[in-house]
């Protein structure tokens, strides 16, 4: 019941799960298909730079993204943790980043100053999101947030919480009745003994 209620609160009525991580290492940031395509609903990716400079999000087939970043310094998001809302980051590579924006491998792209957002739909996976500055300059101190939502999860959690509450109620009633019976039996036993002693 407690767990169900907590998840109900955590998901909210929209049934949204959210994860975030901040990369301090210079280079590009990558969200692999092991995270991006592990759900059946669209994933909203938001990237925010602390320095307010340009940031670009783009999604490409995983083999293409891998080829583009083969020798570059990247921080890779390769796992998420729920309900903690955290993501695992792994730094790799040391090469400089080339300007990736002219390539034709990107299915979707978005660019903004300081922050930008991209909604990646499912069905064409495996795909990888690459976060860059939009040119060859390396990114530093960028926070990426992933969010996806399904109202069904909220109602499932609600049902779980309700079932938990009913079970807990039965358990409490059972416990209470046991105590009452025990007390009554004690009283009855005490009364009989006293009566017999008087006789």
């Amino acid at each position: 019941m407690v767990l169900g209620s907590w998840i109900v609160v955590k998901l909210g009525p929209s049934g949204q799960a959210q994860f975030s991580a901040t990369s301090k290492a210079p280079g590009a940031m990558v969200i692999t298909s092991d995270v991006l395509n592990t759900v059946d609903v669209p994933v909203r990716v938001t990237a925010t730079r602390r320095d307010g400079a340009a940031v670009r999000l783009a999604v490409a087939p995983t083999p293409d993204a891998r080829a583009m970043l083969a020798t570059s310094a990247v921080s890779t998001v390769n796992a998420v943790h729920y309900p903690a809302g955290t993501m695992d980051l792994r730094a790799s590579g040391a090469g400089t980043l080339s300007d990736l924006s002219t390539a034709d491998v990107w299915r979707l792209a978005a660019k903004g100053a300081g922050s930008t957002e991209l909604v990646v739909d499912q069905g064409r996976g495996p795909e990888t999101v690459v976060v860059t500055s939009g040119d060859a300059k390396p990114l530093t101190d960028v926070t990426v947030t992933l969010a996806w939502a399904n109202r069904t999860w909220f109602f499932e959690a609600l049902v779980a919480a309700t079932i938990g509450a009913v079970l807990a109620a039965f358990a409490l009633i059972d416990l209470w009745q046991s105590r009452v019976i025990a007390l009554r039996t004690d009283e009855a036993a005490t009364g009989t003994t006293t009566s017999e002693a008087t006789v």
Partner: protein, 365 residues
């Protein structure tokens, strides 16, 4: 009294035992309660352990295993491919309709390899042959015919245009050699009437690039090589050709014979045709056949006879390309021949479906 007391004492002892049983519960009911408690505790333990672990936590928010890459899908969506076509054709048109550095940059954005050589040649010859009249890009809405299949390289996009004012349909092949390099036009070729192009696989599946030993009636590279060889002048003996006779190669052979005859007094004329290997692309079609693209470099060579001096002013194209108004020793003109064949699956002969030639260079001394 003592006996009675003893009896009372026994009775009391018996009821106390009964009372103890009741307090602890009836043996059957007690066992049921214990089972309930154990089951409930176990269920709670399992739930808590699962959530604290990862299984239930992940499944609560829909997380499952990531899908595997499919080899039989196109790496581009239709929208992506159409945007690439629009970008390339816009840049090509800008490049051909303007001048200076901007035009050069636009052409480099639009074209690649032999396509760029061809359009540069056409630009140089613009004074002799107005570019607008020669442009193959005056169709506003290209029709997307095919895109590559799978995630290997090189990749291609195949499109067709028909000029708004009518004219022959044009086949365009755009290629990308690697993930970092954008698609550019490698070939634009007018179709030869009454040729038609067989259907390709659905755009979502993509079409495979056909390489050696993949079921076509003739190997694409061998086809191009034999086709180039049979156009040589002076003619060389050729074996059984794997292609149907066509007017394009006939015109070239006839033209070469005419030139040789016209310059016979002043020069010796020879013509060679050499396939550019990297230009050969064979795109698989739905019926198992393939559409083979290739570029052949033709060299017209004039060896000026001793004591002769040939005025070339009459050949405006040669003057524009070479800067020579007369030659005393030799001259050569390089032309690119863009050709497209329809090759059947397993048996039969290839048919030329599109062809075009473009002067690209000239030199003389």
């Amino acid at each position: 009294m003592t006996r009675r007391a003893v009896t009372s004492s026994e009775q009391t002892s018996s009821e106390q035992t009964s009372s103890e049983q009741t307090r602890r519960g009836h043996p059957g009911r007690s066992l049921a309660r214990r089972i309930r408690v154990v089951a409930g505790s176990a269920m709670c333990a399992v739930m808590v352990t699962s959530v604290a672990g990862c299984g239930v936590g992940d499944s609560l928010v829909g997380i499952h295993a990531a899908p595997q890459a499919k080899a039989d899908t196109a790496p581009l969506t239709v929208d992506q491919a159409k945007k690439i076509l629009t970008r390339s054709f816009t840049a090509a048109y800008l490049g051909e309709s303007t001048t200076g550095q901007a035009a050069k940059t636009a052409l480099q954005t639009a074209y690649t390899t032999e396509g760029l050589r061809g359009v540069n040649g056409r630009s140089k010859l613009a004074k002799a042959q107005p570019a607008a009249a020669q442009s193959l890009l005056q169709a506003p809405h290209p029709k997307l015919l095919a895109v590559s299949r799978g995630f290997g390289f090189p990749r291609f996009i195949l499109a067709q245009t028909v000029a708004s004012g009518g004219g022959l349909p044009v086949l365009h092949l755009l290629t990308s050699p690697d993930a970092a390099t954008p698609y550019r036009i490698a070939t634009s070729v007018e179709m030869v009437p009454p040729a038609h192009v067989n259907p390709f696989n659905p755009l979502g599946q993509g079409s495979p690039l056909v390489t050696k030993n993949t079921g076509l009636a003739v190997d694409p590279a061998k086809l191009m090589s034999l086709y180039a060889a049979q156009m040589a002048f002076p003619a060389k003996p050729a074996g059984r050709s794997p292609f149907v006779a066509d007017p394009f190669s006939s015109q070239i052979r006839t033209g070469a014979a005419g030139v040789a005859k016209a310059v016979a007094v002043q020069a010796t004329f020879t013509q060679t045709h050499k396939v550019i290997p990297s230009s050969v692309y064979a795109v698989g079609q739905a019926d198992g056949g393939g559409l083979v693209f290739g570029v052949i470099e033709r060299t017209d060579h004039f060896a000026v006879k001793k004591g002769q001096s040939v005025k070339t002013v009459g050949n405006k194209a040669f003057v524009l390309l070479s800067g020579k108004k007369s030659v005393a020793r030799s001259a050569s003109i390089t032309t690119l021949e863009f050709v497209v064949f329809s090759v059947p699956a397993s048996a039969g002969k290839a048919t030329l479906v599109a062809a075009r030639e473009q002067l690209v260079a000239g030199s003389g001394s």
